[in-house]
Amino acid sequence: MNRATESVCPVCLSRIPARHETVGGDTFLVKVCPDHGAFRAVVWRGDPGFREWSRPKIPSRPGTPFTKVEQGCPFDCGLCEAHRQHSCTAVMEVTWRCDLGCPVCFASSGVDAPPDPSPEEFGMLLDRVVEASGYCNIQLSGGEPTMRDDLPGLVRQAKSRGFGFVQLNTNGIRIGREGGYASALADAGLDSVFLQFDGTRDGIYKALRGRPLLERKLAAIRALAEAGIGIVLVPTVVPGINDDDLGAIIRFAAENSPAVRGVHFQPVSYFGRYPEPPADAQRITLPEIMNLLEEQSGGVMRASHFQPPGCEHSHCSCHANYVVIEDGGLTRLAGNGGCGCKPRPASEGADRAKAFVKRQWAASGPDLPMAGSGDDLDRFINRASSHMLAVSAMAFQDCWTLDLERLKGCCIHSVAPDGRLIPFCAYNLTSQRGETVYRGKCDGPVRA
């Protein structure tokens, strides 16, 4: 079974035809460059199958496309008028400096980092985001954003301009180290932290980040919990390094609920310079993560709990939601069992029910019922609003795995220094030799 799409040549980055080839349950992206030969990389292994994993979507255009279609995907990003999804999250790199130098990082972080964008430039970029995509979610990224001393000011700026959800992507080192820093971010209005958290053992950090970091991660989690900022743990999953620790990460997250609100696994992808294409053994795919979670959680989580995304392209991610119950166990919040297809009793839609739950929780906040009061239903409703754990995984695409159909449906957009919005995987795309298409080539100033 083959499915045709397009990709790029990993060597020269020319757009070339590609197809998905499924052999014995594994699906490969296969392509041939007239100049550089054939390439084949695994993109999906096992069940649920590549073809079943889909959720048809009606394309949604960007609010204001900034670029026209001239050379064709992926060379017209801005977003172009042929892009098939609006922005859900705008990723803004506020610095290119970093206090770690990780082998697996896709954001460039080096000693010769360019100067940080000024608060004024940052404000102009926010304006561009509003023009292109409205008040979508903002993720402050880098580099390591906490290298900037004025970070709380940037958070405040984004919040005061009306962005409802502002998230910080960080390694957590400064947050754990510097007393009062987390609460300064909270005071500025920060909603959530995307915390790089590769596992529950120091060996994992030594392999991936070059040094033991577990204690620092724990310190960051304590500080964020204290400050009341929601935490999403973000493990980069690398075969042979931490793919045996996924269940332990979930247990750790459950123990730290409700401070930890979610776990977002990112299978490793290969940006930068590689003399040889990465071997398939160096890749891990979404169904493998779902199945490993089932194995390593003793069946508490199941691969069948996961659903394709409603926003980005189906093959880019998977997610399942749980409530962490009092004993630390997980109850799935999902409805494939039974017959949810029949018309429901009509008194309230799901959204109203959720809003009701939130109000009820907020109202009873200061004098929460003591253990033993309220019944199981009350407790579950309260837990569902306070102790939800969202588990998801997102597969980024590199020059070997890039499927332009997926790229066209991307909803996570990097805001380039010149104000263009560029799908995350296109922005970070590099050839095997490390040449970029966008990063470093759209340095501004901000174009109106």
Partner: protein, 71 residues
């Protein structure tokens, strides 16, 4: 599990017709989509016929149903 959160008006004055017994509060198990909840509800002490008042069915129970059905 303890007090029942339904207005007295809804549950008072009910008797089991078959057994002739006044309903008393007792722990009842409710199950939905692999989740089990124990709730104190009025029921017949003899035959365990349970009363689910309208407000409970359309209120909390409906909320829990929708949470478990959440997509």
């Amino acid at each position: 599990m303890s007090v029942i959160k339904v207005p007295e008006a809804d549950v008072s004055g009910w008797k089991c017709a078959a057994c002739g017994e006044e309903l008393v509060s007792m722990p009842v198990e409710l199950e939905y989509l692999e989740s089990l909840f124990t709730v104190e509800l009025p029921a017949c002490p003899a035959c365990r016929f349970v009363l689910i008042p309208e407000e409970l069915a359309l209120g909390k129970m409906h909320q829990v149903e929708q949470l478990l059905e959440d997509k």
